[in-house]
Amino acid sequence: MKNGIKRFSPLTEATYYILLSLSTPLHGYGVIKNVEEISNGRLILAAGTLYGALSALLDNKLIISVGEDEINKRRKTYKMTDLGRELIYYEIKRMQEMVTNGIRDIGGEL
């Protein structure tokens, strides 16, 4: 596996959406709002999960800190790295396979 990103897979739903949100630079609060929006209000990120995921993503160099919010400097801004992007691609392909197989086998009953 290229750069060993396979070891991070499968991501939890929360981590997947946090990493995905950081394809554009955002701070923690921005990530919460974005995930809430793209999941149509289904997934509200909890503070401890967000903190834990950001720490782990930083430690594994899947995201980097790119600055801070102009209004509130305690809010740091993060962005996905190339490695993070590779991981997202890998996860999309993996989940696409799951969806394709699911629809093929029992999709008619949906």
């Binding site: 499968p10 939890t12 739903e13 929360a14 981590t15 923690g28 609060y29 919460i32 997934l43 509200i44 990120l45 909890a46 503070a47 401890g48 999960t49 967000l50 903190y51 834990g52 995921a53 950001l54 720490s55 782990a56 930083l58 430690d59 800190s65 509130n72 305690r74 809010r75 740091k76």
Partner: protein, 176 residues
């Protein structure tokens, strides 16, 4: 009016701690500070408050200021911090999901942070048990020191094992 209570907190029983604090708020006592096993409450109207505790430990790449900001952004008010623990509170609202963890993966990491914190702080303890104790056996109080040190070591080991057990328990409920 203030009320002070001394209580032993077992880090592998976070839910019990949460229950205790929430019961106090229903009885009209709002937590204002936690320090050295002492809980200080202030008399207030009886209300339903939700408490959450998180152990940040030695921290990582994310600063404490940012950590607290993340909680604040999610609606949590920091009440107190004690020995690496952060006590957060929020008023109960029916429509809000007042958890601090979405999944068992992140929930289990609290135990991992606790275990690594204990291992790190326990290092001087084990070092002195192995290297210092055998060299001071000529001292008058050697036996007393030995007993005290042994008790601390056993408690330390028990805590690590209990936390490891909780970690495994939470991890076993992970379903992708």
């Amino acid at each position: 009016m203030k009320k002070s209570m001394i209580r032993w907190f077992y880090p592998w029983k976070i839910d019990k701690e949460k229950e205790f604090l929430e019961k106090q708020s229903l009885d009209g006592y709002r937590l204002v500070k936690v320090a050295f096993g002492r809980y200080i409450f202030e008399k207030d109207i009886p209300q339903k408050l939700i408490y959450q505790m998180d152990f940040r430990g030695l921290g990582g790449k994310i600063s404490e200021a940012e950590y607290m900001q993340i909680y604040e952004d999610a609606g949590w008010k920091l009440i107190s911090k004690a020995n690496g623990w952060y006590y957060f509170c929020q008023e109960y609202a029916e429509k809000l999901d007042l958890t601090i963890f979405n999944d068992n993966d992140s929930k289990s990491r609290v135990y991992l942070r606790l275990i690594s914190f204990l291992l790190l702080t326990g290092f001087p303890l084990y070092f002195s048990m192995i290297f210092i104790l055998p060299r001071i056996d000529h001292l008058n109080y050697y036996f007393l020191i030995l007993v005290i040190m042994s008790v601390i070591t056993v408690l330390h080991l028990v805590a690590i094992l209990r936390l490891l057990n909780m970690y495994k328990k939470v991890r076993s409920h992970i379903h992708e």
